[in-house]
Amino acid sequence: MDIWFIVSNTIVLACIYGTLAIGISITWSSLGLLNLAYGFIFAFAGYGAWLFAQHVSTSGPAVLAAGILAGALGGVVICAVGFIPIHDKPNFTIRGLIATLAINLIGTQCLLWWFGPRSKSLPEIFGNWSVSLPGVVFTADKIGNVVTSVLLLAVVLRWMQSSRRGLEIRAMMMNPHAASIVGIGVRRTSFYVMGITGGLAGLAAVLLSQTYYISPFGGLMPMIKGVSIALCGGLGSVRGAVIAAIVLGLNEALTSISIGGRYVLITQFVVIIVILLVRPRGIAGLLDKAREA
């Protein structure tokens, strides 16, 4: 029972963090921007959903959609403030990283100032039912989290595979310079990318708020988990992110059972360091070639 509880918990968290990690991964590989303002987008989307639930409607799908939209809005804002002005300037990668960190600082402090330090909770999106199997009970929010995140992720990946815009984004991921030569606008595509990855962050925010609460600094831990997973899987690789999410989730479950929940982060970083020492570009990353940006 205990094992199953931890395993199911791990799967849920892996799905949510994997969603964030894939967002980080896509942003890095297509724009060359390491967006460390995801913590802010996450909290922003959470507050957006909360405001929607307070003032408009408390129906689950509507709140979810509001969160996703708020996240996409946050992503677009960060793109306009932090990416568009410097994407063609010298030393862009470091400056972009620092700019997103600065936006994160400003944004979270704004949220703190506006909403206060008390955390908020969202209404239950998936209702209050549960499925009992022999030895294990799946609650509604767990099943809903897994199903929703996998479904939306599948939709996004499918869209990237089949649509014109997705083709543009994939071209940017392969070779941004060549993509701009054949007429794919870097700025326009960057808005799509940031909108979509922001939407993914918003989704993760709403889903995670079923377990944790929404607070101005609540986005930090999910962001660090997402970054770790993206790093471990290889920045720029969706498949690697999925594998890394599973590996780290497994590690979390095993550590909780065997040593104790306190040491989860320690073992997680040991695992990440070992993986990175063996493969410096992550599990699915190319060994020699980093993105030249």
Binding site: I98, L101, R262, P280
Partner: protein, 549 residues
């Protein structure tokens, strides 16, 4: 232009009755050469300054003082970089201070040293506390600058090292009642061990992979220390270590002691920065900047080892600072592991400019001012710091201290743009060519030549050609004389000459090579019957060349 323009030229020598002299010949109206001059000089282009001016104050110096240099004993290092030179115009001996930064450093540090004397009474408490915090954070920033600027490792785990050292020393101090002076060395040891552990992935990973990893490590430390019972998870930190500040002193005395102790810590950090960055390790690493590591490696520079050395040295120094932190505040709070602390620390480096000691110190001063002195503003002060950081990153290439270089680069770009807009004028020598020509008289000679040709082109007319055919020698009209004088003064290379194919029967035009031993080149097949015809043929060729130039 027709032959019969009505204007006649009267030969003044006609009365002497020379052979083939004619009294009057049709000619063209007088055209002043000044027209071309005026036209060339008149310019509608906006003239922008294109030169390079750098103003340095020229100190007088002569004889013995010219070469007198102040040096740090016992090294041969100079305190100030002074250039002695002779003014090329006045031939006076002059001294120029090339690098004024040491002067600014001394003035700034002096100001910090005497600042407590000038603090207003009602703000004394706040300002002195902020000053002490500034000293500690400046020392941390300097060590971080060594890691980020000198070693080029984008590490975000600096505050994790400091915090870990501070917590470990605080725990030891509380448990074993250690004296305060033992804490910094123990902290240095802890920092060295921690640095050694996190230097391990730094050798394999580069750039952002490492930044992300260390970001996670910082969070790991925070969670570990916050949740562990030994480190006082209940009361927001671990306090109770002995400090170096005597209890029996007055409050002002305690504050002043803390201020000067932290100031001394900053001076130590500056010394460390100087010794690491300005000596062998720094030189080696400056050889291997980002994206040029392969070249450095090929030339035999072991930059990886140098990086790890710098990393270890700075980690030990950070640990030392952590120990000092504990012995200064009597303990340490968990807030040192906060993500916001890391962000503020990064803001200190970024605002000043990565890779310079002055950037670290001034950036720290700015951030600490907003963070500590204006602490009644609440979250707004973080927003201001974030905003400054964002603006600096968006608009400045390398922080506040990079403004000078960036401005110069921008000005040079503008100047070269202006130079290229001036290329249409004159057109004899391209502006870039003109600035690089050693002999500047060439520029003016070519310019004059062009104006002369422009004027002479206006003189060529059927009347003049007819006149030349009529009288090769003797007195010519003014216009023809000008043309002929110009033709005669051309250089030997490619100058036309007449070659006798057969005496008194056949002549042809050749062009001289201008070089001894190289035969003239035949320019046309036509054979002229008389020397006069050939002479006129040469004239016609020259006129054609003139009109084509």
């Amino acid at each position: 232009m027709s032959i019969d323009s009505g204007i006649k030229w009267r030969n003044p020598l006609f009365v002497w009755g020379g052979k083939r002299d004619v009294e009057e010949l049709p000619t063209i109206p007088f055209r002043s050469h000044k027209e071309v001059w005026e036209r060339t000089r008149r310019s509608t282009t906006k003239l922008n300054p294109v030169g390079r001016l750098r103003y340095y104050y020229k100190w007088p110096g002569h004889g013995a003082t010219m070469w007198n240099r102040l040096r740090y004993w016992p090294t041969r290092r100079r305190v100030l970089r002074v250039r002695g030179e002779y003014n090329p115009k006045t031939l006076r001996a002059e001294k120029t201070i090339v690098d004024k930064r040491p002067i600014w450093w001394v003035l700034g540090l002096l100001a910090l040293a005497i600042a407590p004397l000038f603090t207003p009474g009602d703000l004394q408490n706040t300002l002195l506390t902020a000053g002490a915090t500034f000293g500690i954070y400046a020392a941390i920033s300097l060590c971080w600058m060594l890691i980020m600027g000198t070693a080029g490792v984008f590490s975000l785990a600096t505050y994790a090292v400091v915090g870990t050292a501070a917590f470990v020393t605080a725990l030891l101090a509380v448990k074993f009642a250690l004296p305060w002076w033992l804490l910094p060395p123990i902290g240095a040891l802890v920092g060295l061990v921690f640095g050694g552990i996190i230097a391990l992935p730094a050798t394999r990973l580069d750039g952002f992979y490492y930044a992300l990893l260390t970001l996670g490590l910082n969070e790991l430390c925070r969670v570990y220390f916050v949740t562990s019972k030994e480190f006082g998870s209940a009361n927001g930190g671990l306090y109770g270590a002995r400090t170096y500040i005597p209890e029996e002193w007055s409050q002002l005395g305690q504050l002043l002691l803390a201020y000067y102790a932290c100031f001394g810590l900053m001076l130590l950090a500056l010394l460390l920065y100087r010794f690491v960055n300005g000596r062998r390790l720094g030189r080696i690493l400056r050889m291997a900047p980002e994206k040029r590591e392969a070249f450095a490696e090929a030339t035999g520079v072991n930059f990886r080892q140098a990086r790890v050395w710098v990393f270890l040295v700075s980690s030990a120094a950070l640990g030392f600072i952590g120990g000092f932190y504990t012995s200064n505040f009597g303990g340490v709070a968990f807030s040192i592991f906060n993500f916001d602390t890391v962000l503020l620390g990064l803001a200190m480096l970024v605002i000043g400019g990565v890779g310079r000691a002055e950037g670290a110190v001034v950036g720290t001063l700015i951030v600490v001012f907003f963070d500590q002195v204006l602490n009644t503003w609440g979250p707004a002060r973080f927003m201001i710091i974030g905003l400054i950081m964002l603006l600096v990153v968006l608009y400045l290439r390398n922080g506040l201290f990079g403004i000078k270089a960036q401005f110069r680069a921008w000005r040079d770009k503008k100047k070269s743009e202006r130079r290229s807009t001036r290329a249409e004028k004159g057109g004899e020598l391209l502006p870039e060519e003109a600035t690089e020509t050693e002999d500047k008289s060439v520029i003016y000679q070519r310019r004059h030549d062009k104006m002369t040709r422009d004027h002479l082109k206006t003189l060529v007319s059927p009347e003049i050609i007819e006149e030349h055919r009529h009288s090769l020698n003797g007195q010519h009209s003014e216009a023809l004389e000008r043309l002929l004088i110009y033709f005669r003064t051309r250089p030997q290379v490619e100058k036309y000459a007449i070659m006798a194919v057969e005496r008194f029967e056949g002549y042809r035009i050749v062009a001289l090579s201008g070089h001894r031993g190289v035969a003239p080149r035949v320019v046309e097949d036509r054979i002229y019957a008389t020397p006069d015809e050939a002479c006129h043929g040469v004239f016609m060729r020259r006129v054609q060349d003139l009109l084509e130039s």
